[in-house]
Structure formats: C-alpha cells, structure tokens
C-alpha cells in the first residue's frame, strides 16, 4: 500500500487534500496544549543541555588556561633563572679572573707610586749654597788702598780667579745634578704610563661588572614580574613562546631536510651490507638501517649537547657529577665521530656504486660516450663533496638538540593555547546551538498555531462572545496562545 493509496480517499485529489487538512487541523487543535508543552520542553531540555555542556567546556577551558599560565610562568621562571645564573657565572668569572688579582695589582700600584715618589724626591732641585768666603772677599774689597797698589790688585786678582774657578765648578756641578734629575724624571715616564694602564684595566673591569649588573638588574626585573605573575609577564612569555615555536619549527624543518639528504647518502651503500631486497613492515631493510644510523646520530647529538649542559632535556645527565658528565661527553663525541666516519665511507661507496651502475647501464645500452662520461676525471669532486657531507651532516644534526628543546618547551604552551581557543569556540558553538534550540522551539509552537489558525480563530471568537457581558469591567486578556508561547 503506497502513500497515494492512503492519501486518495476520493477520486479528486483536491477533495482528498481538503479532507486530510481538516482532519489534521482538528487533531492538531485537540493535541495543541500537549504538543506545545512537548515542543517547548524538548527545546528547553536541549537548550539547558547545551548551556550546561558549554559551562563545563568553559570550566575546562579555564582550567587549561590556568594550567597553561602556570606552565608558562614555570618555564619562564626556569629560563630567567638560567639566564640570571649564567650572568652570575660570568660576573663570578670576571671577579675571579680580574679582581682576584686585585691585591697583587694593588701592591703593584703601590710600588709604582713609591718608585715615582722616590724619583720625585730625588729630582727636587736644591739651590747651590754660596761659598763661605764671599764675605771675606767683601771685607778685602772694602780695604782702602791707594791707587796703583799692586798688592791689593794681586790679591783681588787671585780672588777673582778663585771666584771664577769656583763658579765654573759650581755651574758644572749644578748641571750634573740637573742632568741627573732629568734622568730621574725621564725614568718616571714609563712608570706613569704603566700606572695609567693599570688604572685603565681596573676601570675596564669595573665597567664590565657594572654592565653585567645592569643586565642582571633587567633580568631580575623580568624574574620578579614572573614571580608576581603579572599580566605583562604572562603576555611577554606567551608571545615569546609563539615566536620560539615558529623559529624552532623552521629550524627543525631545515634539519629534517638535512636528515633526508643524509638518508639518501647512506641508504644505497648500506644495501651492500644488509641487502637491498628484504623488507620489514613494507620498508626495505637498508632504508631502515640508514634511518637507524641517523636516529642514533641524533640521539648521540642530543646526549652530547645534554652532557655539555647546552640543553636540559634529560635531567639525569645534567645531575651527574662534572667528572662523569665530561667523560660521557667524550664518549658521545667518540661515537658520533665514529658514525660520521662510517657515513663518509658509505658516501664514498655510494659514488663507486653509482659509477658502476652507470657503467653497466652504458654497457647494456652499448653507449660508448656514456662510458667515457662515467670515467671522467672530475668525478673526484662529487666523491669528495659526498664524503664531506657524509662526515659533516651528523655533526650538523647534533645541533638539532637546541631547536628541539625549544620546540618541545614552546609546543607545550602553543598546544595549550590552541586547546584554549578550540574549547572557547566549542563553548561558543554550544551556547549558540542551545539558543537556536530554544528559539526553534518557540518558532515551532508558532508554526503549529499557524497550521491550526482556523479553529483558533473560532475559539477566540467564542471566548470573546462569552466575555462580552464583563467586557466593560475588565480589559480583554492577551491571547491564550501567546501565554503558551511565553
């Protein structure tokens, strides 16, 4: 029995339609109150369910936000501590290196000053003392004597000569003393310069310390902000985490490119050792071997960076004693060097295999020119380049540890932020859906009434007539249907 068989109660479709419409209108009118209740209760159930779910999602989002902030602050605090610690280490090194020698420097300065002082004392100019007999000459010169008395003249002449002689002698002595003083002053020059250098060095050291102290002050300010959990600190750390995440991703992408090149360098020659046809889980065994070698190199690189305390991914290695850590660093470096040497060898082998392949292909094609091309004397350049790359790439990959650490730390924050955003969108969508269900219920009720507008109009007319006697006393009430709607 098809739908049309049920629908067509008479031969005329219009008549059948009218019949069904009337029947449905009557049924809907009878079931109106219950239907309204059912529709509204269902829409309210859905609305409340959505609101509750949205509330739960928002609670979860707040928890995640709180947790993210905690993690962000903890990471920021750790990073700030590490930077401050490093700055203090630098200050410590400066103090140990430069200021530990300060007593010696001080002694040196004192000695220099003493020497300069002594030289200065020695270089003081002492005025020559006039000879004691000058007064006697004055007395002789006052003796009254007749003109032309030879005796007096002779005496005075002798005195004059003696005086000139003495004067010359005094002048010579004065010159010698002056020369000596000049020599002393000349000797003071390098001492002054040395003193200036020493003071300059002290000034440089002090300035360096001052600069460091300013940097420490700045970092301490940031650190205090993090400790106090200020919004500025959180915003700064979030922005920093995003930047670091993108930079680290970029560097990691470059590293992956390097790893792929490395893989191609060693995968083919490895088939000479482990075979190139067997497969494990659909992957050729030589490819797996190449991948394992690269991953071991990466692991060794990570451990080496950890042992050198450049990264802090493995606290166990960082917590080892310095002696053990240094030993481990050497072991990791040794393994890395060994693997790099193996890779260089494999790269060399790859070139040989490729040449052999090319020669075989050329022979099979009967192409003489290709054989000549293969035997070109410039092939050593590509061989050397491949060997160099094979040796260098493992060491280059070692430095992946740095962006990897940054990526791991920043991805925690970034993922948290993404989760936050997703939860916010989800909560908003749930709220929207809840409201949609609510208004959809109201709309359905109105549509329901629209379908049975005819009996409703009749009902209103009847009720209006029934109320007519009391119409003057009370104002007419609002439509009943609207009560249901509200």
């Amino acid at each position: 029995m098809s739908f049309m068989d049920i629908f067509m109660i008479s031969s005329s479709p219009a008549l059948s339609a009218v019949f069904w419409f009337v029947l449905l209108t009557i049924v809907l009118y009878i079931a109106r109150v219950h239907a309204h209740r059912a529709i509204l209760s269902l829409s309210r159930v859905l609305h409340n369910a959505m609101r509750l779910t949205a509330y739960s999602v928002m609670t979860a989002e707040q928890k995640i936000r709180q947790r993210n902030t905690e993690v962000l602050l903890a990471q920021g605090r750790e990073a700030a501590e590490r930077i401050i610690e490093r700055e203090f280490e630098r200050v410590d090194n400066t103090v140990k290196r430069d200021l530990a020698e300060y007593p010696a420097l001080h002694r040196h300065l004192s000695e220099q000053i003493t020497r300069i002082d002594e030289d200065y004392q020695q270089s003081i100019e002492v005025p020559p003392t006039p000879p004691g007999w000058v007064k006697a000459v004055e007395a002789v010169a006052k003796i009254p004597a007749a003109k032309g008395d030879p005796m007096v003249g002779n005496v005075l002449e002798d005195i004059h000569q003696s005086l000139v002689k003495t004067s010359n002698k005094a002048t010579d002595e004065y010159r010698r003393a002056s020369h000596k003083r000049h020599q002393l002053l000349n000797r003071m020059m390098p001492q002054w310069r040395r003193l200036q250098q020493l003071l300059g060095q002290v000034d440089k050291n002090i300035n360096s310390l001052l600069k460091r102290s300013k940097v420490i002050d700045r970092h301490m300010g940031e650190y205090e902000g993090i400790i106090q959990q200020t919004d500025t600190a959180v915003r700064m750390l979030s922005s920093s985490a995003m930047t670091q995440f993108f930079i680290a991703s970029l560097v990691l992408a470059i590293a992956i490119g390097g790893a792929i090149i490395n893989f191609h360098l060693i995968a083919r020659p490895l088939s000479e050792m482990v075979g190139g046809t067997s497969q494990i889980m659909g992957f050729k065994i030589n490819n797996i071997a190449a991948m394992v070698i690269i991953l071991v190199e990466l692991a060794m690189g990570l451990f080496l960076m950890e042992a050198l305390r450049i990264t802090r991914l493995f606290p166990v290695i960082g917590a080892l004693s310095d002696k053990m850590r240094v030993r481990m660093a050497w072991v990791f470096f040794g393994i890395l060097l060994f693997l790099a040497s193996i890779e260089a060898g494999l790269a060399f082998m790859r070139e040989i295999l490729m040449e052999e392949d090319a020669a075989t292909r050329a022979m099979l094609r009967g192409d003489g020119s290709s054989v000549e091309m293969v035997q070109s004397s410039y092939l050593w350049i590509t061989t050397a380049a491949q060997m160099g790359m094979g040796f260098v790439l493992p060491f280059a990959l070692m430095f992946v540890a740095i962006p990897l650490e940054t990526f791991v730390h920043s991805s925690r924050t970034v993922l948290g932020m993404i989760a936050e955003a997703l939860l916010q969108i989800l909560a908003w969508s749930l709220r929207l859906l809840g409201n949609l269900f609510n208004y959809l219920g109201i709309a359905l009720v109105n549509i329901y009434d629209l379908l049975i507008f005819a009996p409703l109009s009749v009902e209103r007319l009847i009720k209006a007539r029934q109320r007519e006697p009391v119409a003057d006393e009370e104002p007419p009430k609002a439509l009943e249907s609207s009560e249901v709607i509200l």
Binding site: R268, S271, E272, G275, G276, T277, S278, Q279, I280, M281, L353, E356, D357, A359, T360, R361, M363, L364, R365, G366
Partner: protein
C-alpha cells in the same frame, strides 16, 4: 599482577615482531622466450636489445631467465641463461655482465630449430617463475606466435599463468598472414584467450622503438 602485565606485554611484543617479519615478495620475475625456429632467428639480434633493456631495469633480488623456443621447449635444457640477482648492487652488476655475455654467445651460435613449441615454453616459464617465488611475474614471448608442434607432442594443456603479465614482442607477419590477415589476427586472439583463461594479462608490443615506454616490468 606485575607478572600478568609483563606476560601480556611479552605476548604483544611477540605478536608485533611476528607482524614485522611477515613480508610479501616484491621482487620481479621475468622469463623471456626466444623463438629460434626458421627465419625468425634473423630477429634475434633485436632480441638482444630487449634483453639488455630488461637487464638494465632489473634490481637486486629480481629473477630473469631467457629460454629458446625450439621443437620441445618444456625443458630446463632450453633455458639459455638464468639468474636471481644478489641483494648487493655490486654483485648484481657483475651478474648482469655475465648474463649479457652468455646471451651474446648464444645469439652467435644459435641454430634454427625445425619446430616451434611455444606452449611448452610457456609451461616451463610458469613453472620456473613459480619456483623463483617472485612477486610480480612477466613472461615475454619474442616470437611470431606461430606454433608448429612436432608430431606426437601434446600441448593441449591450459596455461597456469594466474597473475602473470604475458607480453608478445615483435609478432612478425608471415607471408600467409599477408595473404589472409585473419590468420594473424586469429593467432593473436588464440594466444590472448589462452593467456586470459589461465588468469594472465595479455599485451602485444610490435614497435620495438616504443619498447622502453610500453614495457613495464
């Protein structure tokens, strides 16, 4: 409790390892039949080119055999050269060179046979390839596909070439084909039916210049 967990982990590990070691053969097997009957021996020099092309394309682990089609081809003695390439590429290259030399020697010294037993060759090919255990099998028939069996030889046997690719190369037209091309077409049709009813895929390549672009092993 801990023991149970350990046992479960061990079982899972064993299952995982089992899954890991299960491998499907991905190597290729190629068996080439060379018609040495009558005037077709003149075409064998071109067959060398085909063989060299195949050798250049095969990889370590693949198998390759070249057999002649003569009066009774269902025999190991008709296999001119066969090889399963080593895992190591360097060894594979050596094997390819030796194989090529063997073929060169054969082409120089080949004598035309009185009859042509292609079905026997096909049976031998499917047997050899199945034994080789290769993943993707190809049978190349370098012939005019005109079977001429010696009296008493029974070759009304269905071919077992399920999953095989069968490629007819250089199917030359005979004089009688020129007179009545239906003979040629019927010959091709008969072989196609035989191969497809045996579960194989049929292909014909007559233009040897297009061989490299058409032939996918």
């Amino acid at each position: 409790m801990k023991r149970r967990i350990l046992m479960v982990l061990a079982l899972l590990g064993m299952l995982g390892l089992n899954g890991c070691t299960e491998t499907q053969p991905t190597s290729r097997g190629v068996y080439m039949l060379m018609d040495t009957s009558g005037t077709y021996t003149q075409e064998l020099e071109q067959a060398q080119r085909v063989i060299n092309f195949i050798l250049a394309n095969l990889q370590p682990g693949d198998s390759f055999a070249v057999a002649r089609v003569d009066t009774g081809s269902f025999s190991e003695k008709d296999i001119v050269a066969k090889v399963t390439f080593d895992d190591r590429p360097s060894k594979t290259n050596q094997q390819k060179r030796i194989f090529r030399d063997q073929i060169d020697q054969f082409i120089k010294s080949v004598k035309p046979s009185a009859h042509t037993d292609i079905t026997g060759g096909m049976l031998q090919a499917s047997e050899w390839l199945n034994e080789a255990g290769t993943g993707h099998n190809t049978v190349l028939i370098y012939s005019d596909l005109k079977e001429d069996l010696k009296e008493g030889y029974v070759r009304d046997i269905p071919l077992q070439v399920d999953g095989f690719s069968v490629v007819a190369l250089n199917v030359t037209k005979l004089r009688s084909d020129n007179v009545d091309p239906r003979e040629y077409l019927n010959r091709l049709m008969t072989w196609q039916d035989k191969v497809e009813s045996g579960g194989g895929q049929w292909q014909v390549v007559n233009d040897m210049d297009r061989l490299e672009s058409v032939l996918t092993l």
